[in-house]
Symmetry: C2
Subunit: 202 residues, 2 copies
C-alpha cells in the first residue's frame, strides 16, 4: 500500500490517530492538511504541543490545570474560598466557568469512585478535599459530579465524609433541560424533576 | 473564561482547530488528550509533524507525494510506464492503489480546471502531462478525475489535447456502486449505468 510507502506521512497519520474520535481516514486527512500548512505554521503547531505539555500541570490547591503556579481561579482574590465546587474533571470546571454564575472555587477529583473499574476512594483527590474543608473555613461544598451511577456514589461518599465536619453539602439540581420538551425527557430525569419541584416565584 | 486563562492550552487547541473537520470543542478535546500522553509521546508527535513537513515533497515525475527522490510508484520497475492514470490529488492515488488492480503510473494534477474558482488550465499540472505523454511512449491515458462538473470539464480538456498525439484516452466507468441498491442510486448515476451497460459474460 502506498500509505506505507511514504513513511513519514504514515507516521504522522498514526500520531493523529491517537487522538480521541480520530479514525484511520480522518487521521490521514489531518496529516494531509498539515502538509498544506507552510513550514512556519507546522513549527508553531509542534512547539504549541511541546510547550503545553511542558508548562501545564495540576494546580496544587484544587487540581485544575494551569500553566502558572496555581490556577487562575485559586489566584483570583475575588472568588469565595468558602464555597468549593467538587467536579470530576477539568472539562467540568470549564463548563461551569462558561456560565459565569459560580463565584466560589473548585476541587477537581480527577475521576469518580468506580469499584468495577478499580477506582477506589483513595485513587481520586478525596483526601485533599477533606483536608481543604477541614482547614479553610469552608461553609458549603457543592458536589457537581456527573449524574451517572458512579457520580452519584461519589457524591454520597463525599456527603458522608463532610457532613460530620459541619459543612453544608449540596448537589446540583436535576430536571428537564431548559428549552427541551417533556416528551423527550427520560423517565428518571422526569421523576427527579417532579421530586425536585419548586414553588413558582421561589 | 478559563480556557483563555491557560494560555498554552488555548494555543494548542487553536492549532488543532486548524485541521479539517475539527471544531472548537473537538479541538479542546484533542488538546486535553494530548496532555494525557506522556512527555516522550508528545515529543514523538511533534517531531513526526516537523519530519513529515520537511521530508515530504512532490515527486518530480508524477506529482505524487514522496519522502524519497521520486515516489514509490515511479521508482517501481515493474509498473507499466505506458499507461498513465490522471488524478486530481494524492488521495485519489491512495484510493486507486488500495485496489491493487492498476499497474501503470500516475499523474497528479493537483486540482481541476474550474473557471469559477479562477483555476485555469495553466494552474494545474497539465503541461507536465502533455510533455510526459509526448516523451515517454505512452499508449493510454486513463482520466480518473472525479465525476463532478469540474472533473468532467478537465477530462474533456485532457482528451482534446492528447488525442491528436495519437494516444488512447479513457475515462473510469460510471455506474451503480457494487453492493448498493438501485433504489438509492440518483438519476444521473442510473442514467450513466444504463448508457454504459455491457453484455453479460463480456
Amino acid at each position: 500500500m502506498m500509505t506505507e510507502s511514504i513513511e513519514s506521512l504514515q507516521k504522522l497519520a498514526e500520531q493523529f490517530g491517537k487522538l480521541p474520535g480520530v479514525g484511520r481516514k480522518s487521521a490521514m486527512r489531518m496529516a494531509f492538511a498539515l502538509l498544506q500548512l507552510d513550514e512556519l505554521d507546522v513549527a508553531e503547531f509542534a512547539s504549541a504541543m511541546l510547550d503545553a505539555k511542558q508548562k501545564i500541570h495540576e494546580c496544587p490547591i484544587c487540581g485544575n490545570l494551569t500553566d502558572e503556579e496555581t490556577c487562575y481561579v485559586c489566584c483570583d482574590e475575588t472568588r469565595d474560598r468558602g464555597v468549593i465546587c467538587v467536579v470530576e474533571d477539568v472539562k467540568a470546571v470549564m463548563s461551569i466557568e462558561k456560565v459565569r454564575e459560580f463565584r466560589g472555587v473548585y476541587h477537581v477529583l480527577h475521576g469518580v469512585i468506580s469499584p468495577i473499574n478499580g477506582i477506589t476512594p483513595d485513587k481520586i483527590r478525596l483526601k485533599e478535599l477533606i483536608t481543604r474543608v477541614g482547614e479553610d473555613g469552608v461553609s458549603e461544598v457543592i458536589v457537581a459530579t456527573n449524574p451517572t451511577p458512579d457520580g452519584e456514589v461519589t457524591a454520597m461518599y463525599i456527603s458522608k465524609y463532610l457532613k460530620p465536619l459541619g459543612v453544608k453539602v449540596t448537589r446540583l439540581a436535576y430536571g428537564i433541560p431548559v428549552g427541551s420538551d417533556l416528551e423527550y425527557a427520560d423517565e428518571v430525569t422526569l421523576g427527579r424533576a417532579i421530586e425536585g419541584r419548586r414553588d413558582i416565584n421561589s
